[in-house]
């Protein structure tokens, strides 16, 4: 049985919890204890220096060195260890875990075998231990002697009646301190509630109070260090709700402390916020989210939404790494949110980003708000990369940024796709600026044959965004020209017909009617042709 105990202890110390071999040791010990106690009753093991005795028989001879079972039991003052009949497996496991944990302790340990057994409160384990601490630094006798050395009371004239000044102090009415039934109930609830009290939040309040009321660096640093520890712990435990609360509190305290704290305290606080925003802190956190529970999404988002905006420089690069899609979209949302709060960190990233990364970042600008990000998009439509320009234009459309002056150059963009997207966007509303720009473009620009599609799209756009101002130009294009040219339905004539049909004005319809009834086949054909053109796409 003792061999079984030592074997279980050895396996427990060698293997991690729940390892089959460790479990096997516990099971075997439990079985042996069952057999023993069934046959002989409770197991009483006496502990003498480095020995375990059963009755008078030495059943184990240990060594006088750290790590030995008997040494540890003696060190903690245990005289008798009793295992009662009926002990269950969980108790055996706990006992072994306690013996293993406190096999070796250091001077400033937070407990020993006795304190742990007391705390575990195992129903089938009893022990007797000496009160005095072996190897203790405390010399209890010194304290006793100090108490005893007092001179005995010598007061020859002790007479309360004469000595005591009249005391107008109240006396207790014991009836008044009886609890009412309601108070008795409240008391029970109070005790129950205390058992369930949310200590970390209470401690957070306390630390916040220390930081709010104090200006001394020492106390503030202590409080901040503890808050830092709580934050790290809550994140490691994936308690994002609490982590968010801590961060929220830190931000509030930073604001409150702005004018009160010493510079050094502010620096410590800023260092904490800096740490939270760093790649060192955030990247492992984000990577750990791969397996997070979907139900925690809101909590995680809440936490991430609170990190300082400079965290963008840590978070955004994760967008071009292989992270699960749900994590990717969470990072993207966070970056947008943080950039909306303070745009500079995102802008700095854009400036230094290579084209490929820029292409991935530009769509985020489409989800942002504010003039600064809009301004960046309008600058990016002039970027040398087709793809960047295209993404920037898409982002502009998503955000419905209407800045025709800035966008007009795209009408003649070298990339066909960009031109198309631009024109379709311009078709979305009537706009004098765009109309003027188009009129100028169509009047001054020459189009090659392969650009006919683009030319027609320009006319469609003119029709969709233009006004009566364009009628003259369009009438002239559709109906004008010398007799020879009127024989042919040129692309420009078709475009004019198309634009007129898109204008939707009575005057335009009248011009079209005139064209349909023209005696020149080229004009008639152009007027009819727009009907054969593919229907205009959406913007």
């Amino acid at each position: 049985m003792i061999a079984s105990l030592l074997y279980a202890l050895q396996l427990f110390s060698l293997y991690p919890d729940d390892h089959p071999l460790g479990e096997q040791g516990i099971t075997r010990l439990h079985k042996d204890l069952d057999v023993f106690t069934a046959e002989y009753g409770d197991l009483f093991l006496r502990v003498e220096k480095n020995q375990l005795l059963l009755g008078e028989e030495v059943v184990y001879q240990g060594a006088a060195s750290e790590g030995d079972l008997t040494f540890a039991l003696s060190r903690d003052g245990i005289l008798i260890l009793v295992v009662r009949r009926g002990i269950n497996r969980e108790e055996v496991q706990l006992l072994i875990s306690i013996l293993n944990r406190y096999k070796t302790i250091w001077d400033e340990s937070d407990g020993d075998i006795v304190t742990a057994l007391w705390e575990a409160d195992l129903p089938h384990i009893d022990w007797k231990a000496v009160d005095a601490f072996i190897d203790s630094d405390i010399d209890i006798d010194v304290w006793r002697k100090k108490e005893k050395k007092r001179t005995p009371v010598l007061d020859s004239g002790l007479d309360l009646v004469s000595a005591q000044k009249p005391e107008p102090l109240p006396r207790i009415n014991m009836l008044s301190v009886q609890l009412t039934p309601e108070e008795t109930e409240q008391l029970k609830e109070m005790v129950q509630q205390d058992e369930e009290r949310d200590l970390p939040r209470d401690i957070l309040d306390m630390m916040a109070d220390i930081l709010t009321a104090q200006q001394e660096e020492d106390y503030c640093s202590t409080a901040l260090a503890y808050i830092d520890k709580m934050l790290v712990q809550s994140l490691s435990e994936k308690d994002f709700d609490f982590a968010a609360e801590i961060l929220q509190r830190v931000i509030l305290l930073r604001q409150l402390g702005e004018r009160r704290w010493l510079h050094s305290v502010l620096s410590t606080m800023d260092a904490l916020l800096e740490k939270i925003s760093s790649s060192y802190f955030l990247v492992p956190l984000i990577h750990s989210l791969g397996t997070f529970n979907g139900a925690s999404t809101d909590s995680i988002k809440k936490f991430l939404s609170l990190v300082p905006s400079r965290a963008i420089s840590a978070l955004a690069p994760l967008l071009w790494t292989s992270v699960p899609s749900h994590v990717h979209s969470m990072i993207a949302e966070t970056v947008v949110l943080l950039a909306n709060r303070t745009f500079e960190p995102f802008e700095a990233l854009l400036v230094s980003a290579e084209d490929e990364r820029l292409i991935r970042m530009v769509p985020l600008l489409g989800k942002m708000q504010g003039e600064r990000s809009a301004g960046v998009l309008l600058r990016l439509v002039k970027h040398s990369s087709d793809k960047v320009r295209k993404e920037a234009l898409k982002a502009i459309i998503v955000r419905a940024i209407w800045a025709p002056e800035d966008l007009m150059p795209l009408m003649d963009d070298e990339n066909e796709s960009v031109r198309q997207i631009f024109l379709r966007y311009m078709q979305s509303r009537r706009c004098e600026t765009v109309e003027e720009g188009l009129l100028w473009y169509l009047q001054t620009h020459g189009f090659r044959e392969e650009e006919h599609e683009h030319l027609l799209e320009c006319f469609r756009t003119l029709g969709k965004c233009g006004s009566a101002q364009s009628l003259g130009f369009l009438r002239q294009l559709l109906l004008g020209g010398n007799w020879f040219s009127r024989l042919r339905a040129t692309v420009r004539r078709q475009g004019a017909a198309l634009a007129l049909s898109e204008l939707g004005l009575d005057e335009a319809r009248k011009i079209l009617a005139d064209a349909i009834h023209s005696r020149y086949p080229g004009i008639r054909k152009a007027a009819w042709a727009f009907n054969n053109l593919p229907a205009a796409g959406g913007n």
Binding site: T115, E119, D131, R197, D205, D209
Partner: protein, 472 residues
Amino acid sequence: MSNESEVSMSSNPGEILFRALYRLLHTIRIHADNNELITSCLVEFRSAVMQLSGEGDVTILSSQARLYLQGERFNYQKQNIKLVHSLLDFFKNRRLQGISFHSTIKNASATEILWFFRLIIRSGIHEEPSDWLIKEVEKARLSWVTVLKESELKPKRSDQERKQEARDIYFHALGSVADVAQKISQQGAAGIRQAKRAVQAMIEFLGNDLTFFQGLSVIRDYDDYTYSHSVNVAVLALCLGHRIGLPPMSLQHLGLCGLFHDLGKVEIPREIITKPQALTEEERNVVKKHPLASVQQILKLQTSSELTARIILAPFEHHLQYDLNGYPEVFFKKTLSLFGRIIRIADVYDAITSSRPYRSAILSPDCALALMLQGSGKEYDPILIKVFAQMLGAYPVGTLMQFNTGELGLVAETGNRRLQVVLLDKDASGICQQGRKVDLYQKDPLNPSCRRAIVRTANPLTYGIRAADFLF
């Protein structure tokens, strides 16, 4: 007493029995014997006993704030804490050590069993409840049950042994708190193994002898006031915590709060602590920082973050009133923790009944308590202060009394309709000597005609009397 959620199904036969007993004791108070609910509770109880007994006895014992079934400690969980405490209170109020149900209970009639339980309930109103109950059970010839009296199973230790043990525990605690304080001060870190051992020993002792234990706080060492004050606060807080039914682990944490609540005072210059005159504004501000300093010191303890979290709030809060006035100033905190409220009461009581260089008057324990009661609801939790007053009694241990007979006495033990006083005899040279112990509620057998009446009370320290020299 009853709560449907409490009566949930359990597969543990012990728990089934305790729940059945709990329900029966509750139901029987409300309903007549022929009530259906009573019948079902009785069936449930009898079957629980039968399940456990086989052909033997089923013995329930209450000892050291724990329930035992068939000699084994009942290991209760958070969800049945109310059930266990309720049963423990029930046993304690009747001074019952336990009940043994014999296998013959299966032949007992329902009327007999119900009669027995009604007897137990009624025993609570009698002066010696367990004696009365035993007699009644004998009269009724209830052979299927045996009532066990408190004294039958517990060998009584002599007063001298109890005193010695109490003193040992006190000085262990004192030594451990001093050790922690010194190590933190010198090394910047300290373990709490010894403090834990001391607190655990205190809890075990108070479970056995609450009245005696609470008197320990009269031991004071003014060379090291802060340390002995810390131990006294731990003693008083543990008594109050025990009284309100805190489980052992919580008591351990509360005891540590008591020991460490003033750790921050170690950093205050001694000349300020011992200054006989009123403190200057600047000095007061230094003193007011000690709860923060205590927090700082506790963070230096080498222990788990869980334990730190459990013991750090009360030291911060112990100068905050129930209404959150006091110091340190708080903005975020909305309520004080239970430990904070307990430690505050214990702290103030010990402080105002102690002799301090800057204080001319030392309140007698009874006056101190009365004064504190005036702050109920504002300075102190109104329920806890009541329980504290009940616990200490109208004349707390250590109160110096003068009687109409001209004698002086020190209150040595209170509670359970007792007020034990150690008489102080003056010898020829005027030195106070420890005299007889008398119970003020009983006639003095040596002088039956003498019935002492209290004329005045005072704090013994006012007269240079150290109560501990006479009581421990």
